[in-house]
Amino acid sequence: MNEIRSISAKQVGRDVPRLESRQKVTGRAEYTHNITLPGMLYAKLCRSTVAHGRILSIDVSAARDLPGVHAVYTGETIRTLIAEPYFGPAFHDQPILAIGKVHFVGEPIAVVLAADPYVAAEAAQMIVAEYEELPAVFDEVEAMTSAAIVHETLKPAGTFADLKHLSGKSNTNVALDYQLRRGDTDAAFAAAEHVFEHEFHTQQVMHTPLEPMVSIAEPGDNCLTIYTASQSPSFVCTEIARLFGWRENQVRVKVPYLGGGFGAKLYIKLEALVAAAAMLARRPVKLSLTMEEQFYTITKHASTFRIKSAVNKDGRITARRCEIFWNGGAFADIGPRVTQKSGFTSPGPYDIDNVSVDSYALYTNRPPAGALRGFGIPQLVWAYESHTDLLARGIGMDAVEFRRRNLLREGRPQATGTLMHDAAIIEVLDKTAELMNWTAPFERGEGVIRRGRAIAIGFKAVVAPTTSGAIVNLSADGSAALYMSTVDMGQGSDTAMAQIVAETLGLVAERVKVVHPDTDVTPYDMATLGSRSTFHMGNAVKLASLHALEQLGAMAREVGLPEGTNYEIRDIFLKKYGMQAGNIIGVGSYVPPYTSPQKGTGLSDNVTPFWMVGAAGVELSVDTETGHVTIDRLINVADVGRPLNPAIVATQLSGAAMMQLGFTLFENMDLDHGQVTNASLADYKIPGMHDLPTVMDNVIVDNNQQNGPYGAKGVGETATFGVSPAIANAIEDAVGVRLTSLPLTPESVLRGIRALRGEKLEG
């Protein structure tokens, strides 16, 4: 079929249905789980049963002797192939299989390969390991001073300049200490009218992608093809090549659709293990985790946040001190980046002259923690917006008015010194207050039901201002294909990027083909994370499309067509080649400017190319007899720049808010001596339809991100920001109970109510 150019593009801002929706609802979308290869072996893992210990022995003989078992490997076997089999984006601290020592309950110590996955699973249970148990540390604050040291020596990967000074450091669990110093906090506190200090906690939770992690490696002749459910195919390629001492072109990484990622499938997870096992066995190897195993693989940081503020008599915040402890678990993963990047914005979206931040990444003997939809920001907003409400309450000022008085305005320097541009903070606050009818009287409930309402607002800097590349192939019939390594994990990136191609080239978005990540075919992209794709890849896609358009214009001129010709693309090609032949390749690459923060002060004139701003407004009812909280209304208001696809943006906002609702009200990984005791969906509850707010509104404020593609910016995390503190603030508004630890369970609410009444709650 010939491609017809759209008369007026208008592809951006249109609710284009997801390009893959038909494939998904008919079960035809490709997922790594569905891939099998000839001669493929299934891998099953044997995991550590102690939180911290030296490995005395691993007896794999019974497992190896089980009929049907192809091979059993331990860390020592891996070492015969790779001398230093440690990986990680920030530190090379994670062994492919444990070597010498185990660092948490659930760490993989051996892998069994068999053609039948059930045989492999049975054999994995026959492996007997002996350990000399070592003292363990589980709490992030205790880890600062604990005698239990998780890693004897720190091994920064060398990727990040601010980690290099930690190389070879021993006798510490601190994997990064980020400091920000601005103004004179001591003097400001000494002169303050009011000083408030609080401590907040968040719990360890899990991403729970409904498609658990899965990777396959297929060995070739000094090369490997890896099929994997990964958010970062380019990183997998680089890191596998590094481990094997290969060129990048010896590793091919292919990623189809993902059944959710949320940060769980970033960097390397299972890929190094399947790659090593496949090279040892000389057969394709597939490892699919169970839901239970995901709890041992990557989680969200538990945290402790100590926050202190000085407020003057006019209700202005004059100083703020933040101390944040991030529980990174046994391996750093991307924790040091969470620590630093979230450190930038930990004082909140407020204009404060005197700021001091200390943000610590800590190793503990828990399952590792990494990025989860917000890169630490939801933990921070939870604390600083709970604190903000307490400040307003403390000086007797309306919570919205107090925020309005203190919020950062266009052109003002944020805590790092970077000037605020294109961040609709005030607009988001005002829109939230307007939608909540904030100035009108509020129905307070009656009898045992008490009602409350509150708001919270947060913001985020870009965590990865890094490189994205794209290729647009314009064929002789006028159809276009987009080659990029952004991973569509359900967020709708294929559709949004196709809209950018279509808008730029004057095509119809539905007919743009998107070629999925394949490092042999699609260009480099740092990763699909931290709401970076719309902006970074969007800009690269736009540049590639413009490059193709420029070449098309040149071709038209070459065949004698006037500037601005209305000839169809195919006719221009026909004139040039005399037949339907040839193509135009447009390439684009984008990396935004960024200035690393100065060591010591943490200041920078450019920490981010754009800001994400999100607020939540909550109305809720508390049953004072049971402590049960019903969210009557949740309003999510966001600045997303100009939405490329408003319908998809709305689903991103509602999805993020629902996810955060689970982290706020009930999700919690229970640990007993380091063992996760609720590692299944039977015991670890995620939100279901019955848990959703009675009413939920998702609203976008008008804004234009000037350096974004067609005015757009990232949106995947924005609606997570305000949910937790808005609910906690509304609970206090309803029943006077202030909760400072997540999750906000009915039990904790009820204990608070009983405590206020001076009644003891049993147990």
Partner: protein
């Protein structure tokens, strides 16, 4: 998982203490214990067979008596490995014995205990609610058997003093 509780045994403290320190007697009060081996006076090994939610498990158990203060306190550390599945059971149990006098004037002993049990591996990750009720069941059965062994009480029952 932490458990605590207590019960009253209708016998003198010295007698109760001596019996509780006899591994063969102690094991006879626990369901499913077999192959008890006394390695030395403070170290024992045994096998424990139990059913958890309709699935039968066998544990190889080793026990170390970590502290003895006759006739008032015993602290035991146990470690068990389930057979055929990767896992690890650890328990630290403390029992305190207090002498008292029953209403009829006869000597009795109040036993209070604390047990901290943890289970790692698949059993620990997904089975804790089931295990908790199983542990409670084993605890009840232990108390009943212990009482039966001292079945000289006037009313023939063991009185729980802490729930």
């Amino acid at each position: 998982m932490k458990f605590d509780g207590g019960f009253t045994v209708p016998a003198e403290r010295e007698i109760v203490f001596a019996r509780l320190n006899d591994p063969h007697f102690f094991a006879s009060c626990l369901d499913g214990v077999s192959e008890l081996v006394e390695v030395d006076p403070t170290h024992f090994t045994a096998r424990l067979a139990t059913r958890i939610a309709y699935i039968k498990f066998n544990f190889a158990i080793s026990v170390e008596i970590a502290e003895i203060v006759a006739p008032s306190r015993v602290v035991a550390k146990s470690e068990g490995t389930p057979l055929g599945i990767v896992g690890r059971l650890t328990a630290l149990a403390t029992a305190d014995l207090q002498a008292s006098v029953a209403e009829d004037g006869s000597a009795q002993t109040e036993v209070t205990y604390e047990i901290d049990v943890s289970l790692a591996g698949k059993l620990g990750s997904i089975g804790q609610p089931v295990l908790r009720s199983k542990a409670r069941e084993m605890e009840r059965s232990f108390v009943e058997k212990l009482h039966a062994a001292f079945a000289t009480a006037p009313d023939g029952t063991v009185q729980e003093i802490v729930s």
